[in-house]
């Protein structure tokens, strides 16, 4: 029975699904989010924090585009910290401990209050497809589509029609949890899995594979001896994630985290029982993330390390559970008890929830367009762990991105595009689209080539305009951005133009600040470049400076202090853009490009890059192949011109 019809159907209510549902409904489209459990919307099944190195960047970018994650963590954090403050501004990154239950509750309330958005608890068992018609759909057929989505069917037999579908199935597709020899066929934390949808996707021509990830144990806080651990505190004041959160409104007393270490005894216990680990025993088929390894992986991979960091973090204000960060494991629970109890402070620990690994179905590489639409199937988008990524922030970013593009498709407007030089989201999407990722993809600072330009502090300047253009950022906020940009520009100009002579007042100031005396007149900007001086300290020499916000001053200061580096990075970007503009005609037949190596030819055929830049990033395509391709294209274009 057809119950209803929607513009956008979102399958899954995790971090990707929440952003997807909110974005579409906020753009005025009739939207429904299906979840297996309404009580677990925006659930955090693993670590209790949002942000961290490079992931903090993603949250800020989500916020700049009009997403919800940053605002929600600002409301529900327990502790917050700007990481890497001793390093350059490119790698400063916000990270906040979340009150898990509050985070989830708050997000659910936002969604329930959202106009145009329906939330429905149901398992989707089937996607309804329709083959394209040779006569009516010839345009779509030329573009490479074969079928389109019609709607979904629930396990109870109800049909919901939809113009677009966004798959945000996380780790729930045919999931199974492993703890040593014990296997349970559930989603994370004992939740119900989704066992039927995979087969329907396969029928629709979607190729799936198995990935795995893991989580550590949660401890009873009363059983932990914190006196043996180092206390980790948050920042005062806390800097909000969202550009729209008033910093004063979120300052509060923060929770502690704790640091302890594994030791030789821990490692010995692991080594003695390694044959009982399902990964090493070969029971797990899925491939795990290299950059978020289990403790057994770390012990085996770094045999020389005598200890590994273990962070003990609170899960919330209404529970005494503590998350043991750094010791995820799929060892049998009896080994887990020994292993955790060998760590200082955890000698008498009581495990509330044991550590486990989880395996699930997700999409094979090479099936996504840069819009996160699945190739061949018009209207089927996907986001988050289903796309082979890991992490809440990565999921949320894709959920937002895929949803905006699903909406643009319905509205017949240009797709949202963010390239690698514009945002971490661009890097994330490009990597998922062009690379043959063999393990869950985690965002990292090193994946971004142009990170000095992609700072967390300027995410609004980079992306808010795009958010405004798609319709998720209000006119008022956009005007505020334009004002901010103007102020940054004016103040930078002013500081460059005001020159100070080498008079007695100035020289005295230099002496007081341990800065070399002036030999000739210099601009205020030049003084800001001196490591021992900054904008704030120069205020006595600059009585006429305008009243500006902290955010504006921060941008001005970074622009001036790192001008040379920023310019050089900008030139790298210009070069990058040049190859992005070299379009590969869609009709190109790679079999005609005779000197491509076999692997390159196969992957180019599979990924079908839109331009030379993209082609150069595809796994298995090397610079020699790109030269061959460039020569071919040049010749192809010359011959076709004649």
């Amino acid at each position: 029975m057809v119950v209803d019809n929607f513009d956008v159907i979102v399958i899954g209510g995790g971090h990707a699904g929440c952003e997807a549902g909110l974005a579409a409904s906020r753009l005025g489209l009739k939207t429904i989010v299906f979840t297996l459990s309404v009580d677990n919307i925006a659930f955090m099944p693993c670590n209790p924090h949002i942000g961290g190195s490079s992931k903090g960047h993603l949250v800020r970018e989500i916020d700049a585009l009009g997403g919800e994650m940053g605002k929600n963590i600002d409301k529900t954090y327990l502790q917050s910290k700007m990481l890497n403050k001793s390093k350059g501004p490119a790698i400063h990154s916000l990270r906040a401990q979340a009150d898990k239950a509050e985070y989830s509750k708050s997000m659910k309330m936002i969604m329930q209050a959202q106009e145009n958005l329906t939330i429905k608890q149901a398992e989707i068992s089937e996607i309804l497809f329709e083959e394209l018609d040779k006569n009516k759909d010839s345009d779509l057929l030329t573009e490479g589509y074969e079928r389109r989505v019609k709607g979904v069917k629930t396990v109870t037999g109800l049909i919901y029609e939809g113009k677009t579908i966004i798959l945000c199935t996380g780790t729930y597709l045919k999931s199974r949890c492993l703890c040593g020899e014990s296997i349970s066929y559930t989603g994370p934390n004992g939740l119900q899995p989704s066992n039927l949808l995979s087969d329907s996707l396969i029928k629709g021509g979607v190729e799936l594979r198995r990935f795995k990830t893991g989580t550590p144990a949660r401890m009873d806080g009363n059983s932990i001896d914190y006196s043996k651990m180092e206390i980790q505190t948050g920042d005062t004041p806390v800097i909000p994630f969202s550009f729209d959160t008033d910093p004063d409104s979120i300052q509060k007393e923060q929770h502690y985290c704790y640091l302890t270490y594994t030791n030789e005894k821990t490692h010995e216990i692991i080594r003695n029982n390694i044959d009982r680990s399902p990964i090493y025993a070969g029971v797990i088929e899925g491939i795990g993330p290299r950059y978020c390894p289990s403790i057994e992986d770390k012990v085996i991979k770094f045999p020389d390390k005598i200890r590994h960091q273990v962070f003990v973090e609170p899960e919330g204000t209404h529970t005494n559970e503590m998350y043991i960060d750094g010791m995820s494991s799929s060892m049998p629970e009896d080994v887990q008890v020994q292993m955790y109890r060998s760590v200082p402070g955890l000698e008498n620990c009581v495990i509330v929830k044991n550590a486990y690994a989880i395996e699930y179905d997700c999409l094979c590489s090479g099936q996504l367009y840069p819009t996160l639409e699945i190739k061949k199937i018009r209207g089927l988008f996907s986001a988050g762990q289903f796309n082979g990524s890991s992490g809440y922030e990565e999921a949320a970013a894709q959920g937002l991105y895929a949803s905006i593009n699903a909406c643009m498709q319905i509205l017949g407007k240009p797709y949202l595009s963010i390239d690698r030089s514009e945002g971490y989201i661009g890097v994330l999407v490009d990597d998922l689209v062009t690379k043959d990722n063999l393990e869950p993809y985690r965002m990292m600072t090193s994946r971004a080539e142009y990170r000095l330009l992609l700072r967390q502090d300027n995410a609004d300047i980079r992306l808010r305009k795009k958010g405004y253009e798609v319709g998720l950022i209000s006119e008022e906020k956009y005007q505020a951005l334009l004002l901010k940009e103007k102020q940054i520009e004016d103040e930078t100009e002013r500081l460059k133009s005001i020159k100070l002579g080498a008079n007695a007042t100035v020289q005295k100031f230099m002496d007081e600040h341990n800065s070399p005396r002036l030999k000739t007149a210099v601009s205020l900007a030049e003084l800001i470049c001196r490591p021992e001086l900054d904008y704030e300290s120069l205020k006595d020499l600059d009585p006429d400076r305008p009243e500006l916000s902290k955010e504006v001053i921060e941008q001005v200061e970074i622009n001036i202090k790192y001008e040379g580096y920023i310019e050089r990075q900008q030139r790298q970007v210009d070069k990058f853009r040049k190859t992005e503009k070299k379009i590969i005609p869609s009709e190109i037949n790679y079999d005609d490009v005779i000197s491509l190596r076999l692997e390159a030819r196969q992957n180019l055929k599979k990924f079908k890059p839109k331009n030379v830049g993209q082609a150069s990033r595809i796994s298995g395509v090397n610079p020699a192949d790109i030269s061959v391709l460039l020569v071919y294209l040049e010749n192809y274009n010359r011959q076709n011109k004649e």
Binding site: S86, I91, Y291, K578, V631
Partner: protein
């Protein structure tokens, strides 16, 4: 195959009479064409039955089946050949006459004579060789002396590749280390790292620096020494040019100011190539046309590798022209005291020169009438530029201006890394310039795609296409 052009043929070895000469044929119909001229010992035209990568004994015959030559024919079928097309090579007896006869027979069957570099062009267009190799082959085609030929061969053979690749790998390792440390501070420690990097960085800088210095020599060796002849009117500039060139090139008269414009000539002295520019005499003149010539002379002198300053030793006094003095003091200069044959009239001596320009200046007495001093001149030139060694060295040079520029860019980027280290910047800033150095080095060896190079090679290879 993309380029279904016609089939081309050419003599692949030198045209001098030699023991063996090779004629190469490339194209879709290469086998058909040769089959018409070739018979095996049994007398059959059966070349097409032979497999690829075989060498076959037989004879070349003309239309009347008369045997022209006894030959070995190699067959390399597409795509496993130099051009990626069907290629046949005829090893004939190297006589010029025989080879020309065979070429004529091939043309009669429908082959076309290849243009210079056309086999390589096809190899390039068919993706057989990468951009830097194509560049080296172009250099080879245009090679003017033994040195540039040898150097092109070395580049092709990958000597340049190895040298640059090894620096590049080290740069990559350090970049990877910094990136790892940023993402995984628990397992990668940056304490004391900038000192370690600084040491490595200095060694890369000095290696690249010496490659840049060598490249100057390399470019001079390959393209020749840009030589400018200056001197007062009628001091014998044009005569010198003619002596060096061995033919009447410039107009030589006894009338002052005969050479009004600059005259250029490429001259090969043993193994050195000189690009000689003969200038109008430098003196104050009212004549507007000649004035332009004088200005040009001063200008050419500014960019020259070598200046030959000719003085008429029978003149009453040395020029006190400031412009000349400036040029002499700031360049590689050889002074030629000319008209040395007119011994009774000599008024300017070596000592006079030393007095004005210092005792380091190189002076030779010459005469354009009896060739005195010309051999000395050659020796001094070769000493100045090649330390007396004008034979090709087994060292690889970056001889191409594009490659040299990339080297300089890489050098500058590493200098910036040095600055960042000195300024105590945090490690993540090093990556920007390390990345630049890495990609500039990559452009030289074709590991980084330089699109401009594609354009350039196309414009050189495929003019008019």
């Amino acid at each position: 195959m993309i380029f279904k052009d016609d089939t081309i043929c050419a003599i692949a070895t030198s045209m001098m009479d030699a023991g063996i000469g090779i004629i190469r044929i490339s194209g879709d119909n290469a086998l058909d064409h040769v089959d018409k001229l070739f018979i095996s010992p049994s007398g059959k035209h059966n070349l097409k039955n032979f497999g690829t990568h075989t060498i076959n004994y037989g004879f070349i015959v003309d239309e009347e089946e008369n045997k022209i030559d006894e030959v070995m024919v190699s067959i390399m079928k597409a795509p496993r050949s130099y051009t990626k097309e069907d290629v046949v090579e005829i090893n004939s007896h190297g006589g010029r006459l025989i080879m020309e006869t065979i070429i004529n027979l091939l043309i009669k069957t429908g082959c076309r004579l290849a243009e210079p570099g056309e086999f390589t062009k096809r190899a390039f267009l068919n993706g057989r060789i990468d951009l830097t190799k194509a560049e080296a082959v172009m250099d080879l085609i245009h090679a003017q002396n033994e040195f540039s030929m040898k150097n092109s061969e070395l580049q092709l053979g990958g000597e340049l590749f190895k040298k640059i690749d090894s620096i590049r790998k080290e740069v990559l390792y350090e970049m990877a280390f910094i990136e790892s440390a940023i993402d995984d501070p628990e397992n990668y420690d940056l304490t004391g790292y900038s000192d370690r990097l600084s040491e490595k960085n200095s060694s890369w800088i000095s290696k690249i620096d010496s490659m840049i210095k060598n490249s100057d020599e390399g470019i001079i060796r390959k393209d020749g020494i840009k030589t400018v002849i200056i001197g007062k009117p009628n001091a014998g500039k044009s005569s010198l040019l003619n002596k060096l060139a061995g033919e009447e090139r410039a107009i030589v008269t006894d009338i002052e100011g005969t050479t009004r414009d600059t005259i250029e000539e490429t001259i090969k002295l043993d193994n050195i190539i000189l690009h000689v520019i003969d200038t109008a005499g430098i003196r104050d003149t009212e004549d507007r046309i000649e004035q332009i010539g004088v200005n040009k002379a001063v200008k050419s002198a500014d960019t020259a590798d070598l200046i030959l300053y000719i003085i008429d030793s029978t003149d009453d006094k040395l020029s006190d022209d400031e412009r000349i003095k400036n040029i002499i003091l700031n360049n590689n200069v050889i002074v030629l005291l000319n008209k040395n044959d007119i011994s009774d009239k000599i008024s300017i001596t070596e000592d006079d020169i030393y007095k004005v320009y210092g005792s380091d200046i190189k002076v030779i007495k010459t005469s354009m009438v009896d060739d005195a001093g010309i051999e000395d001149l050659k020796k001094i030139i070769s000493d100045m530029f090649f330390n007396g060694d004008i034979l090709p060295k087994e060292e690889v040079y970056v001889t191409n201006l594009r490659q040299k520029e990339a080297l300089i860019h890489a050098f500058e980027s590493l200098k910036k890394v040095e600055m960042s280290i000195m300024d105590d910047m945090s490690e993540d800033f090093f990556s920007i310039d390390l990345m630049n150095a890495y990609s500039y080095l990559g452009e030289i060896i074709g590991q980084e795609v330089d699109e401009d190079l594609v354009d350039e090679i196309f414009s050189k290879f495929c003019m008019g296409k």
